[in-house]
């Protein structure tokens, strides 16, 4: 999707980002940018730093160097307004992380009420709306443990949507699901993409990345090795990506 004419600034941009865990360098000069309405997929082996790169965008990891700008927030600076940043960014995790003691409706309505000071009735209406968006309106009053993994993940996506983020991050959101349940979650993400949501996703679903992503970032050992449209998966140029797609990772 093309960026809007009136905003030339990317929604997310990373420039030469450095990050180490102790002696281990997990991000070694990572740069990429995401435009409004764009879907970016980050792929790579386990341990390539792709999840860490994603988590840096929402400042779940502090970077050691480089520059990160997200919706105008300078995320790399220590004085970044975290709560303002996180109202603009939605994040969905591999392990769903729904709040087990709250119903699905309460899970979704909590942040709009607590953070945006929305009236309870209005938040309940919103919960119904976003839940319908992910095809779960009949689960409004269920507790998370009464839902299947795929349903929990869709509810978690709805919870993020209720905050009306400008960009959504997906951190291996189907890795804990069997193939059947994976499909229903991917369908929801596909619909979001069609609606024009800006998204960054870390995924192992190569076929899905190929079909949905406007651009793909391939990471290997903390570095971005290749960036480009989905066609880079069928005609890779770096030896690392050639090896990665050649080892059976590319199945659709």
């Amino acid at each position: 999707m093309q960026q809007n004419a009136f905003s030339s600034e990317p929604i997310v941009s990373l420039r030469d980002v450095q990050k180490s865990f102790g002696p281990l360098k997990v991000l070694d000069g990572v740069s990429f940018a995401v435009d409004r309405g764009e879907v970016l997929a980050i792929i790579g082996r386990s341990g390539s730093g792709k999840s860490t790169a994603l988590r840096c965008i929402d400042r779940f990891e502090k970077v050691d160097g480089g520059e990160i700008v997200v919706c105008g927030h300078r995320v790399d600076r220590p004085d970044v307004n975290l709560r303002a940043l996180r109202q603009d960014v939605g994040i969905v995790f591999q392990s769903y992380n729904l709040f087990p003691h709250l119903t699905i409706e309460q899970n979704i309505a909590l942040a709009p009420c607590a953070v945006k000071k929305m009236a309870t009735g209005q938040a309940k209406e919103l919960a119904r709306k976003v839940l319908a968006q992910v095809g779960l309106e009949e689960k409004l009053h269920a507790y998370p443990e009464q839902l299947s993994g795929g349903q929990q993940q869709r509810a978690a996506i709805a919870r993020s949507l209720a905050m009306q983020p400008k960009v959504m991050l997906f951190d291996e959101v189907t890795s804990a699901l069997d193939p059947e349940l994976t499909g229903e979650v991917l369908k929801v993400i596909e619909q979001l993409a069609a609606d024009g949501m800006t998204m960054v996703m870390v995924t192992h679903e190569m076929g899905f990345a190929k079909s949905i992503a406007d651009r793909i970032v391939f990471m290997h050992r903390g570095k971005v090795h290749e960036t480009g449209p989905a066609s880079i998966l069928t005609s890779p140029t770096t030896p690392e990506l050639i090896q990665f797609v050649g080892t059976g990772n590319l199945k659709s």
Partner: protein
């Protein structure tokens, strides 16, 4: 050897027994509410980034858990008196019991806080909730639900331990029993009755906590499963 029990001689004092039992229950209820509050704050304090607050909370918890309750009661009682502050025995008893049970509550609540998965907090942070909101909406109730049996046992134990407040003449159940047995010379009968009354008080408290649990944990009430 035969034991001669004369309950009627003691039971004619039942209004006194009842008054003592009610006072014990009041003492326990007040110290439970205040101690739960104090202990929860101390547990939060131990988890803060401020080393000063964390250390202060740690010293409080360790000081209380390693000294006898009776000594703590005397320290509060004579401590306040030497400062020239006059309080009723009841007030002193509530204060001492609160300080005591607060320390144990802090340890139990800390275990509850630590049992909250990291992902829960990250999800809440990702939704832009503030630190206080996360404690209030995400951490507190699930933590309490996980440690509820330990917590309520501690509060029942506190009610039973409040019998040592008889030492500063708070007119609770054991103090009343002491008067009655010295009056009637029927010590064995008196303490049998007192023991039965403590059992009743324990059952009343346990029933109360059971009911409170139904209100606090609607998910468990509906599904019957542990968190």
């Amino acid at each position: 050897m035969s034991i001669q029990l004369d309950f009627p001689a003691v039971l004619e004092r039942w209004p006194s027994f009842l008054g003592g039992a009610v006072l014990t229950l009041e003492l326990a209820a007040l110290a439970t509410v205040l101690g739960a509050l104090l202990g929860t704050l101390a547990a939060v304090g131990r988890g803060t980034h401020s080393a000063l607050i964390a250390t202060a909370c740690r010293i409080y918890v360790e000081a209380i858990r390693n000294t006898p309750l009776l000594v703590q009661i005397f320290l509060v009682y004579f401590g306040l008196a030497s400062l020239g502050l006059k309080f009723s025995a009841f007030t002193v008893a509530v204060a001492a019991l609160t300080i005591n049970v607060g320390a144990y509550t802090a340890e139990i609540m800390r275990a509850g806080f630590e049992a909250i998965p990291r992902g829960q907090i990250e999800a809440a942070e990702g939704l832009a909730l503030s630190r206080v909101q996360i404690y209030w909406h995400i951490i507190l109730l699930p933590a309490v639900e996980r440690v509820y049996p330990a917590l309520t046992s501690q509060f029942v134990l506190l009610m039973l331990a409040s019998s040592v407040c008889s030492q500063i003449s708070a007119e609770e159940l054991t103090a009343i029993a002491n008067y009655i047995q010295s009056d009637t010379y029927r010590a064995f009968e008196t303490y049998i009755i007192v023991a039965v009354l403590y059992v009743v008080l324990s059952l009343v408290m346990r029933a109360g906590f059971w009911g409170l649990g139904l209100v606090l944990f609607p998910r468990r009430r509906r599904l019957g499963t542990p968190l």
